[in-house]
Symmetry: C2
Subunit: 366 residues, 2 copies
């Protein structure tokens, strides 16, 4: 749509007043009375331009509302100045997952300060995910990617390395090699277990996420080891998939046990909330008969009945830190130390003291 003057020579002014030619670095240079490279230098924070010229250049750019064209810049610097995020989620989890929007917001909070863009891709299967990364790499759309939902024996880091695509791994716990950046889920779970123990609970079950994910496994292991630490018998674990339906199902399964748990720790809030419903549906009172703990602290958690006791992570800061690290990596700098806020444990109404055996018997006899 842009009208380019027919004469190939750079015209001083656009001939047509209607369809204006795109303003380029040349226009700014001309207006400031300097060369293109001078303008380039100023906009790339390099020395070699006098203070006075620099001022004129900035002024000209402002007047012309000019900014370096990202496409041209990307081409000549062989860098897209963009980062990629591939989100693989089952559709039914998408609108519920509190992680993704907050993480993106955190990433953006850093990227916008350094002029990077975030390119998003949402996929729903393994093949589509692989294809997405492959496209990012071959089309050179992005300079690096975030790898979320780290899996057990995950092949993606190696595949990305093969594509020459820098990445940061989002993972909980400590990994060897390329250390993942993550919040300390395990600490949150351990605090949950201790909280229940302090309330007198001894049969503490766990509804986990899919065991293929590192974060699921980390949470489950933290639960199991803390149980052992406190000298409690191993608890029952039911594997679910983070959906409300699965949380309800797992809860029923647990409560069907002849010796049901008096408390359940869920791998996320959605399952925990569905668990509350499931329990109440079968006449099990929360927290009177059953204490329930979630994970995430979704904004709805305080507005459930009873309000949900849960573990809160600062996903926004996590995203910010990951973005910071990835930009450092793609720019060839040493990523500085990463400081993430600790997880918080939020006690609300869904947990309470265990109802003693004696009390139960008396009640039954009465």
């Amino acid at each position: 749509m842009n009208a380019t003057p027919p004469d190939g020579v750079g015209a001083d002014r656009p001939a047509s007043p209607v369809l204006q030619r795109k303003i380029t670095i040349g226009d700014v240079a001309a207006r400031a009375g300097v060369s293109k490279s001078a303008v380039s230098f100023v906009f790339n924070g390099r020395s070699g331009v006098g203070e006075e010229a620099r001022e004129r250049i900035l002024e000209a750019a402002r007047a012309l509302e000019w900014r370096p064209d990202a496409r041209a810049r990307a081409l000549s610097r062989s860098r897209a100045q963009a980062l990629g995020l591939v989100i693989r989620r089952a559709p039914e989890l998408l609108s519920t997952d509190p992680f993704f929007p907050q993480f993106v917001a955190g990433v953006e909070s850093f990227l916008s300060t350094v002029g990077y863009a975030l390119v998003l891709q949402v996929v729903d299967g393994e093949e589509a995910e692989r294809e997405a990364y492959s496209r990012f790499a071959h089309e050179a759309r992005v300079d690096g990617v975030f790898l979320t939902d780290l899996r057990v024996e995950d092949e993606r880091p190696a595949e990305l390395a093969g594509l020459g695509m820098p990445c940061v791994l989002l993972g909980s716990g400590t990994g060897e090699g390329t250390a993942p950046i993550g919040l300390d889920d395990a600490a949150g779970i351990r605090r949950a277990v201790r909280h229940l123990h302090a309330l007198g609970h001894e049969r503490i079950a766990h509804v986990s996420g899919s065991d293929r994910y590192v974060h699921s496994r980390v949470r489950r292991e933290a639960w199991a080891s803390e149980l052992a630490q406190l000298g409690l018998r191993p608890g029952t674990v039911v594997e679910a998939d983070f959906t409300g339906a699965a949380g309800a199902r797992a809860t029923h399964e647990l409560l069907d046990d002849p010796e049901p748990p008096t408390a359940i720790i869920y791998a996320n809030d959605i399952m925990a909330i569905a668990g509350i419903s499931a329990a109440i549906d079968r006449g099990v009172r929360v927290p009177h008969d059953l204490s329930i703990i979630g994970f995430d602290d979704i904004p709805l958690a305080p507005y459930i009945i009873p309000p949900l006791t849960t573990v809160r992570q600062d996903v926004f800061q996590w995203g910010n830190a990951c973005a910071r690290a990835l930009v450092s990596i793609v720019e060839g700098n040493e990523p500085g130390a990463i400081e993430l806020p600790p997880v918080e444990f939020i006690v609300r109404g869904s947990t309470g003291p265990v109802r003693g055996q004696g009390e139960a018997i008396i009640e039954a006899a009465g």
Copy 2:
């Protein structure tokens, strides 16, 4: 970092086995024994290449794992082959809002079929939003943008036009000029009102979103007009901001009325769920004393106690349709007719028959 052979002539094979040169269209052309333009033509679906040559080119590209570099392509075609989405949300709403992830997924579902990328920007204020659009435009990062949360007397369409940035408006209801693409919120609200009316309710209140948004206003007006249509007295409306806290506050305000409503329709599920809690906290039973209807059908809605009656929109399809329309626009084609699925009304346990005056009196007297 790439080692470019010192000789400018296109070498047959990369000289260095370690740092391999990036593969370009020239390599593919050489391998297939054709010119670069032949390769370009094939990859842009243009005629002018013989079937046999075409086959060789595709084969060569496959062997070399080559795809057109998005940056170079963007520069020479003056098109980024990317679309932008600026999301402006208060942080506390981000992780709850069911719209954004689903919309993005829907957008992607179309974009990935046509090789467009989605560039995201999350901002939290008016100035930042303006700046984001300005950057998209001046840096030519994207070819068009989605404009969400259309506001009353919104200046953004005009600003975008001034920047020469194509856009599609996401809006409910019908607008004149550039027609927004949207689902029919109003129909959902009207069905909610009729549902309550059929259950005998006559005092039906509404907790709306901020009145600055077109969608808030559309929903409120649908509620008010349907009330009138049914011959009911005008109901009370309380303006809130889509958060749980605001929903709870609005609910208390409504129930404090000497003549409180017997049913409340909320502008989203979060506020409705918080409303249920607020009601129960003050001894008002749902749905026995108060019927509650939400909007969105978040995945948690069936797992609340009582399960939430609500209006469901197919945001995924909405996103898909918007993407389709925007791509048509930026490619200069006539956007085809847009067919969006109708909203659904989901009846669950949070609504029930109104408790008659008589019954209340009898109970009070008893």
